[in-house]
Symmetry: C4
Subunit: 297 residues, 4 copies
């Protein structure tokens, strides 16, 4: 029995391509456009990706510079021109994406489809609605678009491992957060009663805001306990928050270690007999003695 | 010897139902009421749970809104009416719970029994004792009642694992906390001597409060060292507190990893020969070769 | 070969008794006194320990209360009387300890011998030297004496495991701290140059104090960067300090896990064949099949 | 198959000597000088190292003291004299290093070659360029030179293990940091919109600086949210930053545990049959039964 290698089935396919649901057209200029815009295995596609990343970064820099009053005063015209240049560029790109997918409706409703639209719409609205200052900052969401390109080309494995570890711990993390929420809510209310509005704890929400800033060890210092009992409770909360940080850390640590172990056991496969389940550090197949491939770090 | 599977006895029953000690009546309207109020496997019981969670959340929102002065001024009458509605509702529920359990005295003295009572009593007291403002905030404890329902239905396993890990580490955590307490007490006293009342360190308790806010890396900034020696000591305390946080984290991490390992070994059981003790990542029973059930994450 | 159990030699004796070096006298009233004062296996010894812990705690409370101006003003006479009562008590105890050990010189020079002396000396000095306010706070060191008693009776195993883990990681921790020290020193100097005395960074030590409070995420807020470059450097330092906290945590986590593993392998011993080296979760001796003792958590 | 020990090839040589590329001359005074300056296995070389460490520390102390206004005013002449003494000493040392290596160009362009040069150049520049205050602080980089000596002689193994763990986790850490950067950028912009310049959030970079100080739990308190929505977002950011700290900690913890395991498996080698791959805690060679060397902590 012990001689039977674990002939594991191939691990389930993990789709790294977030564009898969929109459908790639077959043949014609639409397929060519799709390969340039959505994929990155052709040379033109890679150039497109690089240009797009550059445009996104520059357009975000434009938004940031516009927010700095002295810079906006001095170079306002140039920044406005740059902004419209990027808006037109991204509009063309958005239309291109809509045109070349098989299912434009699916793309338009997808996460990145919405982000793409929100990258250009605020500028157009500002033409008609004066003073739509707030809306313009929505353009900063363009930054998220970089992730699409990174996700396609790089670090897929690390993303998926961190994602899996967080996903697998989500129930434990949720419980932890609900307990922490309960604590800050109850202790915040206690502080509201103990310190009261005369020391700045003007309402329960304000006191809970202070409690969160204390338990998370941020400690802005805009609100501080003034009474002796308040300071004693605050001391307890600080020690508590500092100490229980160990809990989520332990959860994630244990989960990442586990994920690593499972991957090591399932991903290293003997090239001769295809057996998996080799221990970390093993150099030869436990079943047929063939030298094993190196472990990926 | 090595062929003998670990025919482990079933793990000890872990009571997930916090109501077990009160006794479920047999037959009659009391059993029906018990099933609705205390259990959640009937449809009516689930509806009851949902309605109760809703009422609890809304009543807590009422308490929070009452604490915000502008809101209380504008909608005081409505908030008062809502508060009395919830108080009556919870009173009826409390009486119902008392009626349908076999041992009402046990229920009344249990943790959730006391919480249930404290959810309604402050409102009644406020009728007779004017200005019992502080007492009213006790109603925020109603929030804890949500845990009873969550505990009954969801996440029992995660709760018990986190609880077990914390319980198993309690002696190490206690030692760590006693050492930390010693450190903040001694260094707080040193700062009281070094900085003195003229820089705000008016007494040893105040200095210890500051020491705790420094070692836990909260750093409110209401008290700060002004002298050079004081700043040197504060620097040492900051580095110390930042660094030794690693100790409880290490304790809990190691404990959670251990708990996970023990559970993996004891909970995965071969469906054919009932053997346990299978390694993490194993796919087939080490004793009879049967395919094993999947690991729970 | 595989049948040979690891007949490990007994683990090296770990002296839990910090008094071992002073020598226990044989026979006579000195042995009896030694057993009461230094040991805790007789009933009188246990009563002595409890009384001593009570006296220590009360005397520390006296010191703390004396530091609070309103309390000292109101109850100054009583606090002074209590202080002298405890001083006399601890003096008698110190003389008793000197008398009943075989090597009083060794005791007097030992860690706890010095602490014992420093618990009483400041009070006597204050008789002759007026205004020795600072010296009086040395009495807070009495708190450390509680550890002697705890160490003797409780939690020895947990203490030694945490101690071993920290000891085994000391070289890695030292390297980490030296790198952190280098970073705060260099970046503190940079901030001294960038922000300068006009923004409060009056000297390199002050800037380093600020750098430490930033990297350790304490952030008192008494000094803050005002220039744009300064804020950029501060942002980098905050992210750095927040992130590299993971390093000592990882070191200690890994070490505690290792210590636990080694102890599990060396401490669980088959009662029939005395073999050690049983895996975590194993229920039967791997060598003779006898049921193993339970694992200690 | 199971009897075949893992006869692992020797692990790849890890060059601990950062001077290896410069070439050691053979014979003559240059070899002798090289052995004194660059190596530490001769007695003269060790004395040289100690003197150099002393000179570096003293010269850094001089720089620090010069930055403290009262000290500089009182002892300015002495500090200037000491500074020039150290500058001359380090100049002689730098020339000596250039003379005794085979490839002086390589040395001059190496990391420590540049640091050595930057340790002396600012002082000379200050002779010709008046008011080069800022430049003088570059001398603090001398501190880095201590690492060269430490690296040569001590703690090489710990350095390399921590370095390997960080190196192996660099992709995961990079992903984590990019996600955190995205979060502080987006939420900082939101706060810029919500709180606005009237509450101190004068531009997006300022708001991002605040967001970083909040997410990393530093919380200087120079900028704080004043509106209710702002406080709610800040509360979310504090909880987020406090919680996701668990992710890098988990990554590094898992990596250090892994590195330790791999080293334990590959570095412990049976002295009789040269087999590696012995489990942690094993006392005898799994292949030939010889007693194994002790595990290094």
């Amino acid at each position: 029995m012990s001689d039977r290698p674990n002939k594991a089935p191939a691990p389930p396919e993990r789709s790294a391509d977030p564009n898969q649901h929109f459908g790639k057209p077959e043949g014609g200029w639409r397929e060519e456009l799709y390969e340039v815009i959505f994929e990155s295995h052709t040379r033109t596609g890679q150039v497109f990706d690089l240009v797009l990343i550059g445009a996104i970064v520059l357009s975000v820099v434009t938004v940031v510079l516009t927010s700095i009053a002295p810079v906006a005063d001095a170079y306002g015209q140039w920044l406005l021109a740059a902004e419209w240049l990027f808006t037109l560029l991204f509009t063309v790109e958005y239309i291109g994406r809509l045109l070349c997918v098989k299912r434009p409706d699916r793309y338009a409703r997808s996460f990145f489809g919405v982000i793409d639209l929100m990258s250009v719409v605020p500028s157009y609205i500002s033409l008609f609605v004066p003073g739509s200052h707030v809306l313009l900052d929505v353009r900063i969401l363009r930054l998220l678009r970089i992730f699409r390109i990174l996700k396609l080309t790089l670090y897929i494995q690390e993303y998926s491992m961190l994602g899996d570890a967080l996903l697998a711990s989500r129930r434990k993390i949720l419980i932890f957060l609900s307990v922490v929420f309960m604590i800050v809510f109850l202790l915040g209310t206690v502080m509201y009663v103990v310190e009261g509005p005369q020391h700045g704890y003007t309402s329960i929400p304000t006191a809970v805001y202070w409690a969160i800033s204390t338990v998370t060890t941020v400690g802005f210092g805009d609100l501080v306990p003034k009474t002796d009992i308040g300071r004693a409770i605050a001391s307890f909360m600080m020690l508590l928050g500092w100490g229980i940080l160990a809990v989520p850390t332990g959860i994630i640590s244990s989960e990442i270690t586990h994920q690593r172990g499972v991957r090591a056991l399932t991903e290293r496969r003997c090239t001769r007999c295809m057996a998996t389940g080799h221990e970390v550090g093993a150099r030869f197949c436990k079943s047929c003695g063939e030298a094993l491939p190196e472990e990926t770090p």
